[in-house]
């Protein structure tokens, strides 16, 4: 499970982890829960839509939409497609199914975890399933669903599902959660809050912290001080010194927030470089994968 604040690099890290697993010869599925599909394009493949597609050898992607997930789940429970279509595909029913709290989350998570435990010819279908989970608040809503159901739902098919889902989520052998953040104030604060929620409420095994888009430390303190006085120089030195000073300031701030994240979160941490590329795509993902391979989070699965 990969989560974190909006825009911090969750999809990038998910795609990179998948690339690494595929490089190691594993059969990988990346599930995303996005209105706009991101993973397949990040891997240089056309969008997969809501069915499993092979983006590159051994690496499959799937965008789970609540609507499709509801349909699959409904058909599974009701056994008969015609009944499902009569009841669930009714426009009015569908409309109000959308607003029943937690139902969309339940079927979405159900679909993902069902893939995770599915088998083919007596063997697990996937060696690894990577979930590009939604941003913080929504991710917590999603991952909380099984335990919420166990608290409220009496015996029945739904409870049975909640039970195996929760067992899978809490199993440290099979499940691990990674938090992605940027070395900036708000994302780090959100990561710290999220981590507390994972520990205190969700109980999902925490595995790693990825601090993404870390600017490199390029100038020493002495140089930084010197840059201050060079900023006013005529071009080309002045503008170059200004760019350098902004870079140095940013790197310094980033170091501070990285330190804050490390101090507050006792998680194996991997720092990923800020890549100065205009087009964010497969090539960038490969470089992020290389960076993870070079310094994987210690002790994480």
């Amino acid at each position: 499970m990969v989560t974190g604040k909006g825009g911090v690099g969750k999809s990038t890290v998910s795609a990179a982890l998948a690339v690494l697993a595929a490089r190691a010869g594993k059969r990988v599925l990346v599930c995303e829960v996005n209105a706009r599909e991101r993973i397949a394009p990040l891997l240089g493949a056309p969008p997969a839509g809501s069915s499993v597609r092979e983006a590159r050898p051994g690496l499959f992607t799937l965008n789970v939409t609540p609507h499709e997930a509801m349909r699959e789940y409904g058909i599974m429970v009701l056994k008969f497609r015609t009944i499902y279509d009569a009841v669930f595909e009714n426009r009015l029913v569908r409309h109000f199914l959308r607003v029943i709290p937690s139902l969309a989350e339940l079927v979405t998570l159900g679909k993902i975890l069902f893939e995770a435990k599915s088998e083919e010819r007596g063997r697990p279908r996937w060696d690894v399933v990577i979930v590009d989970a939604p941003a913080t608040g929504h991710a917590v809503q999603l991952l909380r669903v099984p335990s919420a159901l166990l608290d409220t739902v009496p015996a029945g098919p739904l409870r049975g599902d909640a039970e195996w889902m929760q067992a899978l989520l809490l199993d440290p052998v099979r499940t691990a959660l990674a938090i992605v953040t940027l070395p900036e104030e708000m994302p780090v604060n959100e990561a710290i809050e999220l981590d507390a929620q994972v520990r205190n409420e969700l109980g999902i095994p925490r595995a790693a912290l990825f601090v993404n888009a870390m600017p490199e430390v390029r100038f020493t303190h002495e140089e930084e001080t010197r840059l201050e006085s060079l900023v006013g120089a005529p071009p080309p030195l002045g503008p170059a010194a200004t760019a350098a000073r902004l870079q140095a300031l940013r790197a310094e701030q980033a170091q501070r927030y990285l330190a804050r994240a490390r101090a507050a979160l006792d998680l194996p941490t991997t720092v990923l470089p800020l890549l100065p590329v205009a087009e964010w795509g497969a090539e960038a993902v490969e470089r992020i994968a290389d960076a993870i391979a070079a310094a994987p989070p210690q002790g994480a699965p």
């Binding site: 109000f96 029943i100 739904l158 030195l237 010194a241």
Partner: protein, 375 residues
């Protein structure tokens, strides 16, 4: 005065919208501060769960009622306000409660709704609830108070358009006769009920209960029954809010970062506002990388930088090379952003402002005032 500041100055209501984290709250506060400095009575209504704005404004906390930013806070920042700056933070639950109280036909009904478990979860569980209440509060403030300017910040959504769609979605839900019929066959049938009866209302409810559990369905039925008859009042009110938002004294300010994803959202939002005849006051491109090497001259090489560096205290170890690299990287980013923003400014004809990425976060009045100057 620059573009967005100028158009915002002629409005009575400014609504800041944009995708998550682009700087809506910051820009909303800056616009409000700017007008207060130049003499208006201004209110900024924020939806900032992180509560950082309260600190920035020197208020220990912001609640569902307005509080005035104290003069000494301006003085500390080296500012003097000719007008007044008031701020408040939207309390979604309280605003819902007030709305229910206003529309409930009697106290018993009001209590029934307020006590319903589903209703109590609603502010967090029902997507769009925050957005709906933000509009509701805006209407109340705009009709009951006499501020020269009200600036509304909008909630952090992944998709900015949710803000416009949310009220309809929630009203649809509250007014959903089908759901009511499904869940409580005892209450008024109507046309929709008939259609559903054909596929067997009782059967549907039973099937659904297999998914949601009976308790959840009963809560939902009870909830919808509670709202029965109040729907018209809600709908009229939402219509009035919409009418308000299309008046020329209102201006939407679209805030975006220079990233393609956020720009796409701003363009989609603009199209939508245009289609609904809602007035756009301007675009703010926020946290933009400044252009340090304008013009077409080639970027300096390390060899170009070495002599002036030598003349000013030396060039080791390889400082000239690192400077040249850093400037080139900086400019690559700046031009990628500029190209992306040009696409936006060309397709959207509205006044716009480009606000640079400031050296540090904006978290005091001084920072807000600096940002306002760039609007």
């Amino acid at each position: 005065m620059t573009a967005v500041r100028e158009t915002a100055a002629s409005r009575r209501i400014v609504v800041c919208v944009g995708s998550g984290g682009v700087g809506k709250t910051t820009v909303a506060a800056a616009i409000a501060l700017d007008r207060a400095l130049s003499g208006g009575r201004v209110l900024v209504c924020t939806i900032d769960p992180a509560r950082r704005l309260a600190n920035a404004l020197g208020l220990s906390s912001l609640g569902n009622v307005e509080s005035r930013v104290p003069d000494h806070k301006f003085a500390e920042a080296g500012l003097r306000a000719k007008g007044e700056l008031h701020a408040m933070m939207l309390d979604v639950k309280r605003t819902w409660d007030d709305l229910v109280a206003r529309h409930a036909p009697d106290p018993a009904r009001r209590e029934r709704i307020l006590k319903n478990r589903l209703y109590q979860q609603m502010s967090s569980a029902l997507a769009g609830s925050q957005e709906y209440m933000a509009m509701e509060k805006l209407y109340e403030l705009a009709t009951d108070r006499d501020y020269d300017l009200i600036v509304l910040d909008t909630p952090p959504t992944a998709h900015a358009l949710d803000f416009l769609d949310a009220p309809d979605r929630i009203l649809d839900f509250l007014g959903n006769d089908a759901a009511r019929v499904l869940l409580a066959p005892a209450i008024g049938a109507g046309k929709l009920g008939l259609r559903l009866a054909q596929i067997g209302g009782g059967y549907v409810a039973k099937t659904l209960a297999r998914f949601t559990g009976q308790a959840a369905l009963s809560d939902l039925g009870d909830f919808l029954q509670g709202f029965q008859g109040m729907y018209e009042g809600f709908k009229d009110r939402a219509g009035a809010v919409r009418a308000l938002l299309s008046r020329p004294e209102v201006g939407f300010v679209l805030v975006t970062s220079p990233s393609p994803i956020s720009i796409d959202e701003a363009m989609a939002f603009h199209e939508r506002l245009h289609a609904e005849s809602m007035p756009v006051a301007g675009l703010v491109a926020n946290r933009v990388t400044p252009d340090l090497w304008p013009g077409a001259a080639p970027l300096p090489s390390p060899e170009d930088l070495a002599p002036p560096l030598d003349a000013r205290g030396g060039n080791d170890p390889g400082l000239a090379r690192r400077l040249a690299e850093t400037l080139a990287e900086h400019q690559a980013l700046a031009s990628a952003e500029r190209r992306a923003l040009e696409r936006l400014f060309e397709s959207v004809s509205a006044p716009y402002a480009v606000v640079p990425r400031l050296e540090s976060d904006v978290h005091d009045l001084r920072g807000l005032a600096r940002l306002a100057e760039r609007l």
